[in-house]
Every structure is written in structure tokens, then in C-alpha cells.
Amino acid sequence: MSVNVRLPTIMRSAAGGMSEVAAEGSTVGEVVDDLVRQFPGTSTHLRAPDGGVHRFVNVYVNDEDVRYTGKLDTPVKGGDTVTILPAVAGGAS
């Protein structure tokens, strides 16, 4: 099924300048795989050496952080919006 993948400005150069692309998959992992297939340049940002998603990338399905909903196994359905963002975090602790 097709979902919308939304990319922030900081990542768009790796996806032909597009802010939103259609990708196929029934899980977040499959959607990421399809995105990398379509835009190999995104692999640098998205892929960890072990083949998973880079630890500095956060993925959201309809604004829900997949770290709390099953990570790459999180299911998606047609029309969902998957947002991929560079992790921006820190803090005093």
C-alpha cells in the first residue's frame, strides 16, 4: 500500500528536492526500504551499518514516534503519513 513520506528541508537534497514522496510498504521498515530504493542518496542518512535505521534518525507515523509503537515493525496503512527527521535532542542530564 502507498503512504506519504514527508521529509524536512535538511534531507530533501537526497530525495531530488522533494518534500513528500509516495512509498510502498505495510510496515515502517518496508516503507524505508522503498524510499531508499527510489532515492539511493537517502541511504547515507537513513541506514545504520547493520541495515537498520540510523540511530540519529527518528521516524513518525501520523506524528506518532515509532520508537514507542513497534519501531520498524510498526504497521502502516494506505494514506498514512510517515515523517522522517534527523534526531535533534540533548539536555542537561
Binding site: F56, V88, A89, G90, A92, S93
Partner: protein, 144 residues
């Protein structure tokens, strides 16, 4: 992934006020925001929600990024050039957590600005964090 900085962060006075006000509004949690501009110059401070809702950590979620991207697209030659967050009870200096997060290669060259709310008065400082090395850069006010 953002412009390479030189060794300063240029802000308008109103940005300084907006950043400190946002830090106070977010207390006791840490507050955070993104810096949109070009190179060393901030054109827009984008206050963000702290997705962690924590007094010890912060993270920026899709809502903050959407707001920043709107600011990027509203001006010529803009990009996200840095991040600001508050330390509510410690000095305005990158913590080990900050340094670990600054290793994100997509954030290479970003300005890491920190606001300390520790009494007696708010302090805003900025740093470049590269390969674990912390280098302070001057914060320069360039008009209102």
C-alpha cells in the same frame, strides 16, 4: 546539511528576547527551538515544543520541524542552522548528552546555543561541537 559556520552566531536583539522568553515559558522543563537563517546569521527563531516534556532532556518532533521548514521556505537562501535549548539549573555549556547528540552527521556545522536560567540572570552562549570537541563562539547582537 546546513551552511558551514564561521566562529560566531549573529542574532537580532529581538531573537535574544524571544529565546530567553521561550526558555522561561518552558520552565521547569527544558525549552528548545530551531535557528533558521543563513551561515552565521539567524533570521528566525522557531520556538519548539519539548517532545520529552522533561527538565533534564529535550527533543524536537515533527511539529517543530514543520514550523522550521515553513520559516526556511519563506525566505531566500535559508536553512536550519542550529538549535537552542535551555538548561534550567546548570550552566550554558554542552552536557555529555548534548555532545553525543551533536554527533549526528546531518547536523554537521550547526550552532548549538544554550540558555542557562540559573540565577542571577539568563545567559545565552553558543558553541560548535565537532567530533566531540566543544568550541565556544561569540554571540553577536546585530540590531533589533
Amino acid at each position: 546539511m546546513g551552511d558551514r559556520p564561521s566562529t560566531r552566531l549573529e542574532l537580532r536583539h529581538r531573537h535574544w528576547l524571544e529565546i530567553v522568553a521561550h526558555a522561561w515559558d518552558g520552565a521547569p522543563d527544558e525549552a528548545c527551538g530551531l535557528l533558521v537563517g543563513s551561515g552565521t546569521r539567524v533570521e528566525v527563531f522557531v520556538p519548539c515544543r519539548n517532545a520529552d516534556r522533561s527538565s533534564r532532556t529535550f527533543s524536537i518532533g515533527p511539529d517543530g520541524w514543520r514550523a522550521a521548514d515553513e520559516a526556511v521556505e519563506a525566505g531566500e537562501g535559508r536553512s536550519v542552522i542550529g538549535v537552542v535549548h535551555s538548561h534550567t539549573h546548570t550552566e550554558a555549556y554542552p552536557s555529555p548528552t548534548d555532545v553525543a547528540q551533536a554527533a549526528n552527521p546531518m547536523l554537521a556545522g550547526w550552532h548549538w546555543a544554550l540558555v542557562s536560567l540559573r540565577p542571577p540572570a539568563p545567559v545565552l552562549r553558543s558553541y560548535l561541537v565537532t567530533d566531540g570537541n566543544i568550541v565556544e563562539e561569540p554571540v553577536v547582537l546585530v540590531g533589533r
